[in-house]
């Protein structure tokens, strides 16, 4: 079965927009995806019909808001195959999710302990651990990548020791598109007794995430990269680990008993969710998940791979275009440089032609340094993109090349 891309696109009002009279070609999906009408409707409907605080009110609206909010949690739990719904912790996004874990880890680490990440990290999955290590005197080890952007698994094995307490890696690299063998890496890390966190920011929108199958302890992702709203994300954690994890923010909602001088913490998920949550965001994300999981995942994968291979094929045929990240297992991302042209210039000229891409360090400065480049231009695809849009990208790139040469 193939994906009806036209029907899919029709559900995203923003994709019908024009920029300077040209149809919008939105290829910045790794930064943020667009929202289908059902997600927009869910948010509007919440504020129109059921807005109230959750878990507190002794009234109809609060009950209804709580019901929708908690249903969204159940949807997400099912979507990633969590063991239990209370393993789903709402956060503001992937960054906050990783901060919850890194902050707790910082309190558990001792001198001599080790934490391991990869050269591929987005700053969110690097600076967090780096700072936790600095605070605790632990060592941060970095697993290198090969020149094609693929992780060096032998180096991973070498760096893993019985002192490794946490191993964190991206499901998919935001800058290069490399898909990591997350199940294999998790298995190796678990064998030395380390906790494992998968940064799923770029992995979640490609479907098929099953946290029980992966075997990790934590999986973090953002709603806005999964066709949901900004400002909401998820920390999934294994219940047995989350139950005892040091609390993050303190305040309302997360407590059990409070006196002026003492407090005890509530049960999961509340103990890691202080204060009034992003209720509309959670409901919007629930709607996005419900929408997404009804798509034909196999057709979706085929379409995404078709987009990337078509783009890669054209890139290889375009003289002066250099791909950054050519791992055999890639999804969604085409990072590149045009000979003699700064990525920012390429971005300006593409933008003027209605083609939206990202340019710069991709929030991965050490990785850019590793490749000896200041940054890249990055086109990133989502399921609603078309082969014609890939053509538009390359037509725009040819013009950029002409103007900047």
């Amino acid at each position: 079965m193939s994906l009806d891309v036209a029907a899919l696109r029709a559900q995203f009002p923003i994709l019908a927009k024009t920029v300077d009279g040209k149809p919008l070609v939105y290829l910045d999906n790794a930064a943020s995806t667009q929202k289908p009408q059902v997600v927009i409707d869910a948010i509007v409907d919440f504020y129109t019909n059921t807005n109230a605080n959750v878990h507190r009110g002794a009234h109809h609206l609060s009950d209804e808001a709580t019901r929708r909010y908690e249903n969204a949690r159940t949807s997400v739990a099912g979507f990633i195959n969590a063991n239990a719904r209370e393993e789903v912790i709402w956060t503001s996004g992937t960054t906050e999710a990783i901060n919850i874990v890194a902050n707790g880890l910082g309190q558990l680490l001792r001198e001599g302990d080790q934490v391991m990440v990869t050269e591929l990290e987005h700053h969110a999955n690097l600076v967090t651990w780096q700072q936790a290590c600095r605070r605790s005197g632990a060592t941060l080890n970095i697993v290198p990548v090969f020149d094609n952007g693929e992780l060096d698994i032998d180096a991973f094995d070498r760096l893993l020791t019985p002192n490794t307490k946490m191993v964190a890696f991206p499901h998919v690299s935001n800058a290069l598109g490399t898909v990591n063998p997350i199940k294999l890496l998790t298995e190796k890390a678990k064998a030395v007794g380390a906790w494992v966190l998968v940064d799923g920011a770029q992995g979640i929108a490609h479907g098929g995430v099953d946290v029980q199958d992966i075997g990790c302890d934590f999986y973090a992702f953002s709603g806005h990269k999964l066709f949901g709203p900004t400002g909401i994300g998820v920390l999934w954690g294994r219940k047995s680990v989350l139950e005892d994890w040091p609390v993050w923010q303190t305040g309302g909602e997360m407590i059990k008993d409070v006196t002026y001088h003492e407090a005890t913490w509530g049960e999961l998920p509340n103990r890691l969710e202080a204060g009034t949550p992003n209720i509309a965001g959670a409901i919007g994300l629930g709607a996005a998940v419900d929408w997404f999981k009804n798509l034909d995942m196999a057709a979706l994968h085929n379409h995404e791979q078709a987009l990337l291979s078509y783009a890669t094929e054209q890139a290889l045929a375009l003289e002066g275009m250099r791909l950054i990240g050519t791992a055999p297992n890639k999804v969604g991302v085409l990072s590149f440089l045009l000979d003699g042209a700064h990525p920012a210039d390429v971005g300006f000229i593409l933008d003027r032609q209605g083609v939206a891409i990202r340019t710069g360090d991709n929030c991965a400065q050490p990785l850019m340094k590793r490749f000896g480049i200041p940054g890249t231009a990055r086109a990133s695809f989502a399921i609603y993109n078309t082969l014609e849009e890939v053509d538009s990208l390359f037509a725009a790139l040819k013009k950029a090349k002409m103007m900047l040469a």
């Binding site: 300077d20 700064h342 920012a344 971005g347 300006f348 003027r352 710069g360 103007m403």
Partner: protein
């Protein structure tokens, strides 16, 4: 080569009827501004825009401030040339009195090259105004 005046630039840009010509003009204007030698592109002179690096070096003579600029992106270098046309070899008083927002508006560069984008242009203008204030 001396840069055209701000009035001349506004007139020139108004003359073109498509974006490609405008961009080409800006790129060429940038190329007419000599960059900085490697030893002057030091971290303390770096004004970081989020997509490209921009360096600014200033010198004072006779109540005039002279600026040298460089960017690793040619369109940004062109935008810097637009800024220099307004500010270079002027007195601190002239710099502070110049209506930069009005100038950008008159350039009608459309949303792409407005100083709100991550091209460091706003940061450069702020730095130039700050230097002028310090020396007025």
């Amino acid at each position: 080569m001396a840069l055209p005046s701000t009035e001349e630039i506004i007139d020139d840009l108004a003359f073109f009827d498509d974006w490609e010509q405008r961009y080409q003009y800006i790129i060429d204007l940038g190329k007419s501004v000599p960059g900085l030698p490697e030893d002057k592109r030091t971290p303390d002179r770096l004004v970081k825009g989020c997509q490209s690096s921009v360096w600014l070096v200033e010198s004072y003579d006779n109540n005039q401030i002279t600026f040298e600029v460089d960017s690793d992106a040619v369109i940004v270098q062109g935008l810097l040339a637009l800024v220099l046309a307004a500010y270079n070899n002027k007195s601190p008083k002239d710099i502070l009195e110049f209506d930069i927002d009005g100038y950008f508006e008159a350039l009608d560069l459309e949303r792409h090259i407005t100083p709100t984008r991550g091209n460091g242009l706003r940061a450069i203008v702020a730095k130039i105004q700050h230097l002028a204030k310090e020396n007025s």
